[in-house]
Symmetry: C2
DNA sequence: AAATTTGGTTTATGTTATAAACTAGTTTAT
DNA sequence: ATAAACTAGTTTATAACATAAACCAAATTT
């Protein structure tokens, strides 16, 4: 009856990150931190989890002299997100 | 940008319980346990949390000689569920 | 009457989310 | 030039949460 919800996506912050990346394709750490209104520590941890899962890629570079972390959603991430949305909709639209 | 998700509802099992109760208005413990495919222990804990929050009412009675626990969604529960669905939809339909 | 099942609750444990503290370096003010 | 403050994060500690395992009381089955 109720499909399982991917625990990696069923987290407010990780879901917000994925939601952002789905529409922007690429976003850096600071942009995501601002849009999600999260702390850097929390965001760092959650980005690492999405990365480990293969849902996003993370690229480190420099913008001038300052470090920059850029995230991009992967095909696996897109598909996981779509699957999550479909599973969740069962819960939201009670038949 | 991203509204906060009610942490009481942002839990697979509690959300499934609420989803069931939204459509059935009243359901007993065993019915919910079967529909959600959860263990009795976990369900007991999560029902208690929804109860404490005032999202559901819990009535104890006997069906013949056997104990029965009946749950019903409250107006506060309905409104919290609706609010949750609305907040969540921001995450699911990336603009 | 012993064993099993029912309908739960309580408790213990592992997982998760989060904030606090820290690191490494840059920019700004003195 | 140096101290102070800021940027961009990471690591670590702690509190909250989800879940299963163990338990209980009573009913039913054998």
């Amino acid at each position: 009856m109720f499909k399982d919800l991917d625990p990696l996506l069923h987290s407010q912050l990780r879901l917000a990150v994925m939601s952002l990346l789905i529409s922007t394709e690429e976003a850096d750490f600071v942009f995501i931190r601002e849009k999600t209104a999260s702390t850097a520590g929390n965001l760092s941890v959650q980005i690492e989890k999405l990365h480990e899962a293969g849902y996003i890629s993370v690229k480190k570079s420099f913008k001038g002299k300052m470090p920059r972390t850029t995230c991009r959603i992967s095909p696996a991430g897109i598909s996981a997100f779509e699957k999550y949305v479909e599973a969740l909709s069962e819960y939201l639209q009670p038949k």
